[in-house]
């Protein structure tokens, strides 16, 4: 299992792939879910998705889920405990970033540096 340091902060694609896998899904299922979730704002191409699945699996954040494969060539994946922890840490980081942004922009941004 390789370190996750080189994967975090997660790219937008990796983040959406990771949180999509709270339930077992195969590649195309992930694409559809992310598309629906973001109203089409985030599109993940098959090359990017295939590479990200490999990276996330190698880092132990997701694992293969053969019982959900459905007997065809599609491989299903699901979040691991480790992946869940990394996703939670990432959500906390994003919330902190959003909070800082809101606070500073609301203060008017006219040299109010307190």
């Amino acid at each position: 299992m390789t370190a996750v340091d080189h994967l975090t902060p997660l790219t937008e694609a990796s983040y959406y792939i990771l949180i999509s896998l709270v339930e077992p899904l195969h590649g195309y299922g992930i694409m559809q879910k992310v598309e629906a979730l973001t109203g089409g704002r985030v599109t993940i191409g098959p090359g990017t998705l295939y590479g990200a699945l490999g990276n996330l699996e190698a880092a132990g954040l997701i694992r293969r889920c053969p019982e959900a494969d459905g007997g065809d060539r599609r491989k299903a994946y699901v979040l691991t405990e480790r992946g869940r922890r990394v996703a939670a840490a990432e959500i906390a980081r994003l919330e902190e970033m959003a909070g800082h942004g809101r606070r500073l922009l609301r203060s008017g941004g006219v040299g109010d540096g307190r």
């Binding site: 590649g27 990017t48 599609r74």
Partner: protein, 180 residues
């Protein structure tokens, strides 16, 4: 109007590793003129005649196991990409062009860089065998054919090194781009 035999056209083309973009544009141009890529048997490209179409061709460079290949191709099929042809590790995909992000296999710079890095690593591995062949040919081969083989090896090595330099530059540019 009976069933006419499908017309076929063959083109000879040498494709270098750093020209994937040019290769894609060329195939798209052929499709616009009504020629669909059917097969590549290096360096011969076979096209069949079809209705002119606006297609997006994209090349991927894939290294991996045979078992993974099925899942890889299935994922691309699901996403609307047809495998038009293969040339070694090069996968030639196509789909009707939409003019949106759906026309891309890679949708962020991080994964684009990783794709080119994969290709670069593969080229690096092929340098030692070529050097070894060059050394052998210098030692053992004599006479008329030896010069031809030697120069062939020199040209292959130069092309390889040049290609790796181009790829390294592309990777650096992609990794320096603040957009993912």
């Amino acid at each position: 109007m009976g069933v006419e035999p499908r017309r076929i056209r063959r083109c000879v083309r040498v494709f270098f590793a750093w020209q994937d973009g040019a290769e894609e544009r060329w195939l798209e141009q052929m499709a616009a003129e009504g020629w669909l890529l059917a097969r590549i048997l290096w360096p011969v490209y076979t096209f069949v005649q079809a209705a002119p179409a606006r297609l997006a061709y994209r090349l991927d460079y894939r290294t991996g196991s045979r078992e993974d290949l099925d899942a890889y191709l299935q994922l691309h099929r699901d996403a609307g990409w047809e495998l038009a042809a293969r040339l070694g590790s090069w996968m030639y995909f196509r789909r009707p062009a939409t003019g949106t992000a759906a026309d891309e296999l890679y949708t962020d710079n991080r994964s684009r860089a990783q794709r080119y890095r994969r290709q670069l690593n593969y080229m690096l591995v092929s340098v030692p065998p070529l050097l070894w062949l060059a050394a052998i040919s210098l030692q053992r081969l004599k006479g008329w054919g030896a010069g031809v083989i030697r120069w062939g090896l020199v040209v292959a090595l130069l092309a390889l090194v040049y290609g790796m330099g181009r790829l390294a530059r592309t990777i650096r540019r992609l990794e320096a781009d603040p957009r993912e």
